[in-house]
């Protein structure tokens, strides 16, 4: 890539790339996000390339960022027809090349089949999972090879930066972002423009901008998919932000568990620097700015701003009191703007298309779209991007395809460990920052974990408190000891040792933990407990009063038995039981000795006749 010294040069490069691009040319794109990699997409890609070579064809195979529909990976799209193939295996490759790519013949068996209508769907945009999405931020992932800056430039990448540098003052950029109503996508939902303005006005040099990619909420992986799949969109947003606040240095703080994101971001930063889009005198202007990558050490608390600064500074990630705001004294006590990577990826859109356009999407106080990760007990696991204000019902049933095996929906957990569980009665809630907060949960980074009638809400509360106790940095006593005590009470309840008054005690401790903790980790730690008490009190009571776990999860409160009507006496469960708790003669109904049984579930997994009852 040549170094571009002005905005005309950028336009020239984009035009050259566009003129080389033939929309009618055959192209095979394959999703190479982490989900599809888990299904073995890299081997499928190699096979596609080998087959094309074997058949002496001139077709590009492009490994792109995540398409979002992780449930059905590996995903392949044949262009220009945009034929969408799912669950592609190596053995399918010869047919894909010789039939679809060479002759345009569609392979029915690889198409998505709508379980509602039982009809196949040929194009990605017609699959129900995608139909109602509005993939403004995430949509380009599927066309971009994240290791090539050219793929980003050809879709007008960095045009927003050029627009800001050549035609807008820093104040103008800030007022545009304010007008757009962009709120932080990482958790708190603070208005980005206000933050930027505070930092621009603050005294102190140098100023910093930071991209928070320490995606710690379990069950949320949209930041990872953005960093891996479209790293330049994050970088472009950060450069625009740096111009607006007058920052000269930046960091992207990436979670330790995301090695591929580190690789793609590093490559993107290097190629942007080479192209004159990062570093000294960006696009030939006086503005200089550069970005470094800081790899996290695997600590949930480092998603919190002051803990994140401590981590970049090479210290243990302990938050500090925030009577002085980060926009004035952040990293190394200098003015700092910290935004989530998804927030940064929204910025180029706002600058390119304008605040009015952006503000026309979403609800009154939550503008734009949000990427959610729809996971757990849901048919279509994946990442969806929808306008703010879509109902939970539409997300879970419309896009998510409902609950697997026809089971009953129980709750959706949003906001990660700081969020709460939302019950069925609130499924028509329009999802935005304020509505989620009102019902005792929060947006967080956008994780949505769906639970069915086999998920125990007391167990879920215990799970989150165990997580938070492990991740509490230990600085504030109410968080360190309070969360531990809450966990112990929940463990007792799950073990059948709960007592009357435990629920009230949990509520009482919650107040202390929330009020007495410095940072949001402790401040919101009681949410999973309070929201489950609020909406699922009867489950707590069943555990405490009746020593019963209605969902059949808590081991101390359940027993296994074999249904003699369904059992065929095949003996599989006898073979897999680690404690020899199952006995019986061949071809006769077996029985379980509950004194020996540890409720490990091995028999349930092995039984082909659904004969094991849990009560």
């Amino acid at each position: 890539m040549i170094k571009m010294n002005n905005t005309q040069a950028l336009r020239q490069v984009q035009d050259d790339l566009k003129s080389q691009y033939d929309p009618k040319k055959k192209l095979v794109t394959i999703c190479a996000g982490t989900g599809c990699r888990g299904y073995g997409c890299i081997k499928v890609k190699e096979e596609l390339e080998a087959e094309i070579k074997k058949q002496n064809m001139d077709v590009e195979v492009r490994a792109t960022g995540c398409f979002g529909f992780c449930e059905k990976g590996p995903l392949v799209i044949i262009h220009p027809e945009k034929i969408f193939y799912q669950q592609v295996k190596i053995k399918d490759v010869p047919d894909i090349i010789s039939k679809t790519v060479a002759q345009g013949e569609v392979l029915e068996k690889l198409l998505y089949r709508d379980p509602q209508t039982n009809e196949t769907v040929m194009k990605e945009e017609d699959v129900p999972f995608y139909k109602k999405q509005n993939r403004l931020v995430f949509g380009q992932n599927g066309m971009i090879d994240p290791t090539r800056i050219e793929d980003y430039l050809v879709i007008d990448g960095y045009s927003a930066l050029a627009k800001a540098l050549s035609g807008m003052t820093p104040e103008g950029v800030i007022s545009e972002v304010k007008k757009a109503g962009l709120r932080g996508r990482g958790g708190g939902g603070f208005l980005a423009g206000i933050k930027w303005e505070g930092s621009r006005r603050a005294h102190g040099e140098p100023k910093y901008v930071i991209g928070n990619g320490d995606e710690g909420d379990p069950g949320a992986y949209m930041d990872r998919s953005l960093m891996e799949g479209n790293p330049h969109s994050v970088i472009e947003g950060m450069i625009i932000g740096a111009y607006a606040i007058g920052a000269s240095e930046g960091y992207i703080y990436v979670r330790n568990e995301y090695p591929l994101a580190v690789i793609h971001l590093t490559m993107a930063i290097e190629s942007a620097r080479e192209a004159g889009l990062l570093g000294r005198n960006i696009l030939g202007t006086d503005f200089s700015f550069d970005i470094k990558i800081s790899k996290g050490g695997g600590a949930f608390v480092c998603g919190e701003s002051s803990a994140l600064f401590a981590s970049i500074e090479g210290r243990a990630g302990e938050p500090r009191a925030k009577y002085v705001h980060a926009v004035e004294k952040g990293l190394w006590d200098k003015p700092t703007v910290l935004n989530n990577v998804e927030t940064w990826a929204n910025v180029p859109l706002i600058i390119s298309k304008g605040a009015d356009w952006y503000a026309s999407i979403g609800t009154e106080n939550s503008k734009g779209t949000k990427i959610f990760s729809l996971v757990g007990k849901i048919n279509n696991t994946g990442l969806i991007e929808v306008p703010m204000g879509m109902t939970l019902r539409e997300i879970i049933y419309g896009m998510g395809g409902g609950i697997p095996k026809g089971r009953k929906f129980k709750a959706v957990q949003t906001g990660g460990p700081s969020g709460g569980c939302i019950p069925e009665s609130l499924l028509d809630l329009q999802v935005d920052f304020d509505r989620l907060y009102e019902v005792g949960s929060m947006m967080g980074s956008g994780g949505m974990i769906v639970m069915d009638d086999r998920s125990c809400m007391v167990d879920v509360a215990k799970y989150f408190l165990a997580f938070l106790q492990e991740e509490s940095c230990g600085k504030c006593v109410p968080c360190r000891e309070g969360v531990r005590r809450m966990r112990e009470i929940l463990e007792d309840i799950c073990a059948g040792k709960g007592e009357e008054g435990d629920v009230e005690l949990l509520e009482h401790i919650s107040t202390g933990v929330a009020d007495g903790s410095l940072c949001a980790l402790g401040g919101s730690a009681p949410n999973p407990v309070l929201s489950t008490i609020k909406y699922f009190r009867e489950e707590y009571d069943a555990h405490i009063r009746d020593h019963r776990c209605p969902a059949g999860v808590c081991k101390a409160l359940i027993t296994y038995s074999i249904d003699p009507e369904k059992c065929t006496g095949c003996g599989l469960c006898i073979k897999v039981c680690p404690t020899q708790a199952v006995s019986g003669e061949k071809k006769k109904a077996h029985t379980i000795n509950n004194d020996l049984c540890t409720r490990c579930g091995a028999c349930i997994e092995s039984c082909k006749f659904d004969a094991i009852n849990v009560k």
Binding site: G35, G216, P218, G314, G317, V375, C600, G601
Partner: protein
């Protein structure tokens, strides 16, 4: 196991690569862990001396972050995802099965140093849940039956 002199030499090289920059402490420790698969005591002492950071602070950082291990780890690292999505899909049953099969608890390494068992809070591959990452390979839709197969294969490969 590396000799003490090798550990010290390698550690000094790593510190030098980061130009002794105190803010690079976490990155230095990450590189050391990559080189030795854990953080040897001698390396932590050498880092403190070479970077002018009290050993106590190096130790604080090394024990604060989940990514670091102060004990040697096994040839294969088994990471059980215990993120929320995997949890509701039965990750704890898979963890129990690994514990029974390898006879170790999370954070431990088995006697012949073949396997270490670790927990991870979400690897972002929720569609594959319950998911287990062994070394760099993802194993999705885990079942207890699959655990025996995978461990069996790895043991065979190790012989």
């Amino acid at each position: 196991m590396s000799k003490v002199s090798d550990i010290k030499l390698k550690t000094k090289q790593i510190v030098k690569k980061h130009k002794g920059d105190k803010s690079a402490l976490i990155a230095v420790l990450q590189d050391i862990q990559e080189a030795f698969n854990y953080l040897p005591k001698e390396a932590l002492i050498t880092v403190g001396a070479a970077m002018g950071i009290p050993t106590s602070r190096v130790y604080e950082v090394a024990t604060f972050y989940n990514a670091f291990s102060l004990n040697p780890r096994g040839e294969h690292i088994v990471k059980i995802c215990v993120g929320t999505a995997c949890h509701v899909r039965g990750a704890s049953a898979i963890l129990d099965k690994f514990e029974r099969t390898l006879l170790i608890k999370p954070g431990e390494t088995n006697q012949d140093q073949k396997f270490s068992l670790e927990l991870v809070n979400c690897v972002g591959a929720c569609a594959l849940g319950p998911v287990v990452v062994i070394d760099t390979e993802y194993h999705g839709q885990m079942t207890m039956a699959k655990v025996d197969k995978i461990i069996g294969k790895l043991k065979e490969g190790a012989q």
